[in-house]
Symmetry: C2
Amino acid sequence: MKNWDDLRIFRAMAKARSIRAAAADLRTTHATVSRRIRALEEDLGSALFERRNEGHVLTAFGQSMMDLTEGVSVGVEAIDRLAFGQDGSLAGPVRLSVLEDLYHQVLSGPLDSFMRAHPMIELSIETTPNLRDVSRREADVIVRITSNPPEQAVGRKVADSPLALYSSPHYLNQRPAIDRWIALDYPPTIPPLLNARPVFLAGSLTVVADVLRRGQGIGLLPCFMGQGDPNLVRLPEVDLIPDKEIWTLTHVDILQNPRVRLLMDHLYRAFSDQRHRIEGRFE
Amino acid sequence: MKNWDDLRIFRAMAKARSIRAAAADLRTTHATVSRRIRALEEDLGSALFERRNEGHVLTAFGQSMMDLTEGVSVGVEAIDRLAFGQDGSLAGPVRLSVLEDLYHQVLSGPLDSFMRAHPMIELSIETTPNLRDVSRREADVIVRITSNPPEQAVGRKVADSPLALYSSPHYLNQRPAIDRWIALDYPPTIPPLLNARPVFLAGSLTVVADVLRRGQGIGLLPCFMGQGDPNLVRLPEVDLIPDKEIWTLTHVDILQNPRVRLLMDHLYRAFSDQRHRIEGRFE
DNA sequence: TTTTCATGGATCATATTCTAACCAGTTTGG
DNA sequence: CCAAACTGGTTAGAATATGATCCATGAAAA
């Protein structure tokens, strides 16, 4: 193999299934990706992709290649973790992945103060709806709501995240006989124990909370979203519903990195400070 | 990791322990190796080598890196084999590794005719005293004298390689009461069953054979070296001494390659043609 | 249908990387 | 002891890879 780096381009290409998309992932241009893939095919002596109208699709040989590069990729990721863990400098990058709602309701303040306290740490925050995998180094630290934290990850459960029923104070004052039920479209919510009918299926919890604040009905929210909100009250007749847990996680290999440690500690403290509210234990 | 190809340079450097030696292995210049290593250290954020007067030596971090790159390297080698095996073309390279003595005594003719018969096959022959590993793709096909062929290798035992006692006809005519013993310096040869004293410890079998041809004494040679040589005769009072075996080997992954098949078949035939002589069964 | 959008190929100026050459300092061998 | 053959560093100029741009094509969207 003339140039091992071509494997990196190849993997991006195989995943993105289009030269331009791969180029975007690799932060380069489609001209470069096209050239490098061609060079790799030349070097290996066989075609890796079939150029079809609907996109580039792996040949059988390309598929075998993809399987084999998996091991190479895992190896490179381990190297990245080793290097990152080895890096003892306080100055440098750390990447954090947080659920968007959790960022808004719990972490926006603490992360702001973290960045002010450590200006030499280049903290980049990614808010996503989906899991980022610390072992693949898609993120260095992740804050995640889950019931079973992934293997190879180390960290702490920082709080329980129970659900509760909320509505606006105004709605509660003139509550109808049959409650108006505001819920997530997906995943499908458990049907209410109350006398209620669905009137709004929202795409995200942010929307659910917004609709509730406007007095449109009652609905389930994690306590970290409902508790302490002046425009929301918890319905007293229903208990807390145990749900998932909140974990702050990283990878063993990079736990030694001082930036990671600082961030983890800061997150632990932030959750500790707000734990009562998050777990719905007072208002 | 910004550039996976730097791992290739790093491994060469770690093995060669000098920038210039690594550059020679990589067929590039020491300036390039120096710059790439520096770039890699920059990227990883830690030093990989300690620059000392007696050469570059791995740091502890560099050593961990080396351990991890081993897996990456194995993966890349598997990819190389896959590509080579996939290549169905009759035109292209094949690399053969043979023991030098075996080349001279058995294979020089057949390999010459092979290259004439298949001019589009770029056969490169490496004659070495040491084992080349087919799984590391240091060679595509190896002809080796061994008693236990390595794992993962496929191929055939093409002949036994017994030893016998030889001297020149002239020496035999005026043989002294105490024989003059010509032997390898290393590995230490078994002491002769005869009445003999060591007079020459040679560095290679070629030298042993040459000294014997000049009538300097008697000595052990593999039959493929002694048998059929007009200037050597086998001492009749000693039987053949069973020793190692000759194997023609390649790797499963590249057995499909037509150039490899052609070469293997040609080698099988060459050994088959000369098997009687190699095994000392006539003269 | 027409319009819009995204795709991949091709081209060329630009940036980057590599090579060749020379340097000074060390070790090795005669 | 000196000479030769190493070592790695540095530089200018050559070779190479890259990125911006334009283009034709084909697939969705209006």
